[in-house]
Amino acid sequence: MKKSMIFSVSLCVALMTGCSQKVPELDTDIVNAGLDDVNTNTGVDSNIDKMAGMDSSSVSYATEDERIAAIENELQPIYFGTDRYDISVTESEKVDLDANVLNGSLASDLSVNVEGNCDEWGTDEYNYALGLKRAKAMKDSLVAAGVESGRLSIISFGESKPQCYDHNAECWQQNRRADAKIILQ
């Protein structure tokens, strides 16, 4: 009952938002291009646009898992340099976008675990601590961007959850990352 209610509210909000923006038929590429501009200038509003960019008529989640998958699909990983846990200017823009998603109507009631990850260069505790500092850096940036800190926890997976298994620099870059993951209730 409660879930149905949440989904209904989410659906209505999404529909209303879509209507207010009058962009249900927008081409995705154009919306995304526009988003960058809006995001740079107005921050939070970009989230509304981005949610509006979704096809409103299809916003219907039969299960909590589907809702979470839809949210996580909007979130972007934050990448780090070798042995680094500071967030670059380029990546910090992605953190702002993630913050908007997490503060959006679809996700604002959910808790988030920020997962820190490392490349394969290390099998020791230091690598796990490095992953933790990356997660902490992302968490701090999300809080700075307006996400309530009480919703956020962090964890390090070290090198245990690679996204890419090839042995090249591009692949290792993909694995030096922090991801915001919705916590299942």
């Binding site: 070798t82 042995d83 260069w121 290390g122 099998t123 020791d124 505790e125 230091y126 690598n127 796990y128 601590a129 490095l130 992953g131 933790l132 500092k133 997660a135 902490k136 968490k139 926890s153 962090i154 964890i155 390090s156 997976f157 070290g158 245990s160 959850k161 690679p162 042995h167 620099a169 290792w172």
Partner: protein, 422 residues
């Protein structure tokens, strides 16, 4: 003149006592030894062959013998005089005979013989209740031969190794094995289980970190009863880095406030004391100085390096002044072995190498020359170091014999070794 002689004697003694100096010239000659197969066809031929190879391998790893590579056949109760051995000046012959009894226990009878005159040096019998643990029969045979001739101790061969192995994304198992990986038994599987650490010298329990309970959680697992006890949990990360000699204290890396620091945990009271307070990374605490101080890894200089701090308090002291990325270490008395990243180019010949230093001299000895060599762990003898080596996609256990200046590798058939302890 007398003072000069004293100085020379002192200098020679000092050099011989310092393992950081590579000794390349040996005065004592290692005895030559050949292993003989005396087992009949009633015993599984595969096990027998592996057993004999392990005895040969153990004697080689001891570095105290000149070992003939291949075993020969010889009757256990037949003549001890083998003309070919006499001709080749082989000094020792080890006759090994395996037998399986009605209750499936595996027995090994061993005769050590003077190969030049055929006289019996000793005869011993060994037994193990489970056949798949035959590697420990072989290790015991080698340990006794080595002890008889007074070689540097190799009792560590009889210890279990515990290690974690990645099996997939976010998944790993904890496995107990012998040091050659010939015997393996999975202890913990399902989910992410990492950083296993022996809880005591008896090796009846391990500490390990599980990621299967929300927060990283430290458990104590008794290997014989299967009893699992939750010790502590922490958001972010939780690792048992070291256990004190008497098992009463642990060094944990935790991050209760999202900040990785080293804590002292009392196993009786459950109390915790924060040892390090740097805002960056402090990890991998290791007890030193009779458990009154810790050596640990910190990036307080902007890169990972090795530091020392008294548990009671006081200043942090830098221990290593070589390398710009020293992210793991092990200690034994005055010695530290650490892993140093030497090249940012992953395709370069050397990426992580191991080094040995003494806290009392300025000498540094390079122990490895290629590949990724990490996670060093001293054996109790202080002369042997176990480590993880990765070459290409192969993950191996490495054994370094410091005084003999030799290393040996034991590859893992599948998976990647995450961490080790012995």
């Amino acid at each position: 003149m007398r003072n000069l002689i004293m100085i020379v004697i002192f200098a020679v003694s000092f050099l011989q006592a310092d393992a950081t100096i590579k000794i390349t010239k040996k005065i004592k000659k290692n005895p030559s030894i050949v292993v003989a197969n005396s087992t009949d066809s009633t015993v599984d031929a595969v096990i027998n062959r592996k057993f004999l190879k392990l005895v040969i391998g153990d004697l080689k790893v001891s570095s105290n013998f000149k070992v003939v590579e291949n075993y020969i056949d010889a009757s256990f109760d037949g003549s001890n005089m083998i003309s070919e051995l006499v001709k080749n000046n082989t000094e020792l012959l080890v006759k090994c005979k395996l037998q399986e009894d009605a209750s499936k226990k595996l027995h090994a009878k061993v005769k050590l013989v003077n190969a030049q005159n055929g006289s019996l040096v000793y005869e011993k019998a060994y037994m193990i209740s489970k056949k798949n643990r035959y590697p420990f029969l072989a290790h015991n045979v080698a340990i006794d031969i080595n002890n008889y001739f007074g070689g540097s101790p190799i009792g560590w061969m009889n210890k279990y190794i515990v290690f974690s192995k990645y099996t997939g994304p976010g998944k790993s198992s904890i496995i107990v094995s012998d040091y050659t990986l010939s015997f393996k038994k999975t202890l913990v599987s399902g989910g992410l289980n990492i950083f296993p650490k022996w809880a005591n010298d008896q090796q009846d329990s391990i500490y390990y970190t599980s990621y299967n309970y929300g927060k990283p959680t430290l458990f104590l697992l008794n290997l014989y009863s299967g009893e699992k006890t939750k010790i502590a949990s922490s958001s972010g990360m939780m690792v048992c880095s070291d256990v004190s000699d008497d098992g009463s204290k642990l060094l944990l890396t935790m991050a209760p406030n999202d900040q990785p620091d080293i804590y002292l945990y009392n196993t009786s009271s459950g109390s915790k004391k924060r040892i390090t307070k740097y805002r960056g990374i402090d990890v991998s605490g290791s007890f030193v100085d009779n458990d009154s101080a810790v050596v640990f890894i910190s990036e307080r200089l902007g890169y990972p390096n090795i530091f020392h701090k008294e548990i009671a308090g006081g200043k942090v002291e830098q221990m290593v002044y070589h390398g710009k990325n020293n992210s793991s270490c092990t200690t034994s008395g005055k010695y530290i072995v650490y892993s140093s990243r030497e090249s940012q180019n992953a395709f370069g010949k050397s990426v992580f190498n191991l080094y040995l230093i003494s806290t009392q001299t300025d000498f540094i000895r390079k122990l490895t020359v290629n590949g990724k060599n990490m996670f060093p762990r001293f054996a109790s003898d202080g002369e042997t170091v176990l480590f993880i080596k990765e070459t290409g996609r192969t993950s191996s256990l490495g054994v370094l014999r410091l005084n003999a200046n030799r290393s040996f590798l034991f590859p893992l058939a599948a998976g990647k070794i995450q961490s080790i302890d012995w």
